[in-house]
C-alpha cells in the first residue's frame, strides 16, 4: 500500500513541477469554458427559448463539464504504450506490485494535483464571471462525488483497455485522439444528450459514455432529482463493474502475450 501512496504523492508533486505548465493548462480549459458558455448564451439568444433546460442550468452544466475534464486526465494509456515501446514491460513484471494498480495510483495522484491547482482556480475564475455553480442540495453533492468517481473509473478502464492494445500495435499514436473525440461526443460533455433526437437518447442512456460526464453533472445541477438519479447511478455501477472486469481479463491476455513472446 505504501508504494501506491508514494506513486500518488510523486504524481501530485509532478503536477506542480512546472509553474508555466500549470498556468497554461488552466488557461486552456478556461478558454474552452468561456467559449462554450458564450456559445450557449448565443444559442439561447435574447428572447426566452422554449426548452426543458434553463440558460442558467446550461451555463452551470458547461462550467462543470469543463471542470470535470480537468479532473478526468488519465495517463494510463500513455504509460502502457511507453513501457511497451521502450521494452520496460518485463521490468514491470519483476516489481512486486500490481502494474495497473500503480498506474491507477498515479492517475489518482494526478487528479488530486489537478483538483488543487486546476479545478479550484478555474472554479473561482468561472464563479466570479458567471456566478458560482453550487450543488442543489447536500445529498446531491454527495451523490455527485460518488457518481464522478464511478465516471472516472469507467473512463479510466476504457483508456486502460485502449492502452493494452499497445501490446499488439506498438504505436497507438493518433488513434488515441480518435477515441477521445468519440467519448467526448457520446458523453454529452459539450452538447448534453437530451438535445439529441429521442431515439438516440434512449440508446445513449444505456451506453457507458453518458455516465462519465452527463450523469454526475445532471445530479449536481439538479437536472435530475436525487431519487431519479438512483437509476443512472445503478447503470454507472453496472458499467464500472463490467469495465473493471473487462480490463482485468484483457490485461491477462495481453500479459500472457508478453510471457510467450518476451518483452
Amino acid at each position: 500500500m505504501k508504494v501506491y501512496w508514494y506513486i500518488m504523492r510523486s504524481r501530485i508533486l509532478m503536477t506542480m513541477a512546472y509553474r508555466f505548465q500549470v498556468i497554461s493548462t488552466v488557461l486552456c480549459q478556461i478558454v474552452i469554458l468561456f467559449a462554450s458558455v458564450f456559445f450557449w448564451k448565443a444559442a439561447y439568444g435574447l428572447e426566452a427559448v422554449q426548452s426543458d433546460t434553463t440558460l442558467d442550468q446550461m451555463i452551470h452544466y458547461t462550467v462543470l463539464s469543463n471542470l470535470l475534464a480537468v479532473l478526468y486526465t488519465t495517463f494510463v494509456e500513455q504509460n502502457i504504450n511507453q513501457n511497451v515501446r521502450q521494452g520496460n514491460v518485463a521490468v514491470d513484471f519483476i516489481k512486486p506490485i500490481n502494474i495497473m494498480g500503480s498506474y491507477f495510483a498515479a492517475d489518482i495522484g494526478m487528479m488530486i494535483g489537478s483538483l488543487l491547482f486546476r479545478f479550484i482556480p478555474m472554479y473561482l475564475i468561472s464563479g466570479l464571471v458567471f456566478g458560482f455553480t453550487l450543488p442543489v442540495s447536500f445529498p446531491a453533492l454527495m451523490l455527485f462525488i460518488v457518481s464522478t468517481f464511478l465516471g472516472f473509473v469507467i473512463l479510466w478502464c476504457i483508456c486502460g483497455i485502449f492502452g493494452l492494445f499497445s501490446f499488439w500495435v506498438i504505436q497507438l499514436g493518433p488513434i488515441g485522439g480518435a477515441k477521445d473525440y468519440i467519448i467526448r461526443f457520446l458523453s454529452g460533455s459539450f452538447v448534453p444528450i437530451w438535445f439529441f433526437p429521442e431515439g438516440i437518447q434512449q440508446v445513449f442512456n444505456f451506453l457507458p459514455f453518458v455516465h462519465i460526464y452527463q450523469t454526475p453533472i445532471s445530479i449536481y445541477i439538479g437536472k435530475i432529482t436525487v431519487l431519479e438519479s438512483l437509476f443512472p447511478i445503478g447503470i454507472q455501477l453496472f458499467w464500472a463493474a463490467v469495465m473493471v472486469l473487462c480490463l482485468t481479463q484483457f490485461q491477462k491476455v495481453a500479459f500472457r502475450k508478453v510471457v510467450v513472446q518476451g518483452g
Binding site: 508555466f20 497554461s24 468561456f34 467559449a35 448565443a42 485522439g177 468519440i182 452538447v191 438535445f195
Partner: protein
C-alpha cells in the same frame, strides 16, 4: 540580381530535398497516417454535428444559421490544416530549446528559421484538410456562395491570411521557450483559442473579447470578418475596407513581428543539455 536568383534556387532545392526526405520518413510509420485519417475527420465531424444538434434545437447561434456557421467553420478548419502542413515545426521550439536541437541549424550556413520550418513539411497535416474541405464545400453550397474567380480568389487570400495569423501566433508562443526554457502548453492554449474564436462567430462574445481578438491578438481575422463579408452580415465590430485584404495584411504583419521575436529569442539560445 543573379546572386538573388541563385540564393532563391539554392533555398528551393533544399526545400524540395527536405520535402522528399520528410515524406520518406513519414512513410516509415504508415499506421500514423491511418490514425490521423481516422482521428481528424472525427474531431471536426463531431464538432460540426454538435453545432447542428444545437441549432436544430434553438434555430440559430446568435444571428448565424447552421449553413453560415458551416461556412465559417470550413474556412477555419482548412486554414488549420494548411498551418499544420507548413508550420508544425513551431510546435517543437520548446523541445528544441530544451534538448539543444538548434545547434544543428546554427552550424549550417543557412537561416535558422528557414531550416527549422522547411526541415519538416508535415504532409500528414493534409488529413485535416479532408474534413475541412468537405465542411467548407458543404457550407459554400449551403449559403449559396458563387464560385466566381473573384470570389474564389478572395477565399484563397482569406485562407492565406488565416494561415499566416495562426503560424505567427504559434511561432510567438513557441519562441517564449527561448526565455523561459518551457513554453508550457501555450501552443495548446493557442489551438483552443483558435477553435473558440474561429469556429464560432466572434459576435457571440462580449465586446471586450471581440476587441481583444481583433486588435490585440487578431485571431478573429482567421475566419470571422471575411465570412461575415461574404455572407453580407453586419454583427460584430465595424470594419472598413475589404475584409479579405485586411486579413492578409494582418497576417503578414503579425508574422513579421513573430519572426522578429523568434530571432530575438534565438540570440539568447543556450544550447542546453551538453
Amino acid at each position: 540580381m543573379k546572386k538573388l536568383l541563385h540564393s532563391i534556387w539554392h533555398h528551393l532545392s533544399i526545400v524540395f530535398f527536405n520535402f522528399k526526405l520528410t515524406v520518406q520518413s513519414q512513410m516509415e510509420y504508415p499506421s500514423f497516417l491511418v490514425g490521423w485519417l481516422l482521428a481528424n475527420p472525427l474531431q471536426f465531424g463531431f464538432g460540426i454535428l454538435g453545432i447542428f444538434i444545437i441549432v436544430s434545437n434553438f434555430g440559430s447561434i446568435g444571428d448565424w444559421g447552421f449553413q453560415e456557421i458551416t461556412f465559417l467553420y470550413g474556412i477555419s478548419v482548412v486554414s488549420h490544416g494548411l498551418t499544420v502542413v507548413l508550420f508544425i515545426q513551431t510546435w517543437n521550439i520548446e523541445y528544441s530549446v530544451r534538448y539543444g536541437e538548434f545547434d544543428r541549424y546554427m552550424l549550417r550556413p543557412l537561416g535558422v528559421f528557414f531550416q527549422m520550418i522547411t526541415s519538416y513539411i508535415n504532409l500528414i497535416g493534409l488529413t485535416d484538410m479532408i474534413p475541412g474541405l468537405v465542411i467548407l464545400i458543404y457550407g459554400c453550397v449551403g449559403v449559396g456562395f458563387e464560385p466566381t474567380p473573384l470570389n474564389l480568389f478572395k477565399l484563397l487570400i482569406t485562407i492565406l491570411g488565416a494561415v499566416l495569423i495562426r503560424g505567427a501566433i504559434y511561432l510567438l508562443s513557441g519562441s517564449v521557450a527561448f526565455f523561459t526554457k518551457s513554453s508550457g502548453a501555450l501552443i495548446e492554449v493557442d489551438s483552443k483559442l483558435f477553435d473558440a474564436v474561429s469556429m464560432y462567430p466572434v459576435s457571440i462574445y462580449p465586446k471586450g473579447v471581440q476587441i481583444l481578438f481583433t486588435y490585440l491578438f487578431p485571431i478573429a481575422f482567421i475566419s470571422f470578418y471575411s465570412a461575415r463579408e461574404f455572407l453580407g452580415k453586419t454583427d460584430g465590430l465595424p470594419m472598413f475596407g475589404n475584409a479579405y485584404l485586411i486579413t492578409l495584411l494582418v497576417g503578414a504583419l503579425v508574422f513579421f513581428l513573430a519572426y522578429l521575436f523568434f530571432q530575438w529569442g534565438l540570440s539568447r539560445y543556450e544550447s542546453s543539455g551538453s
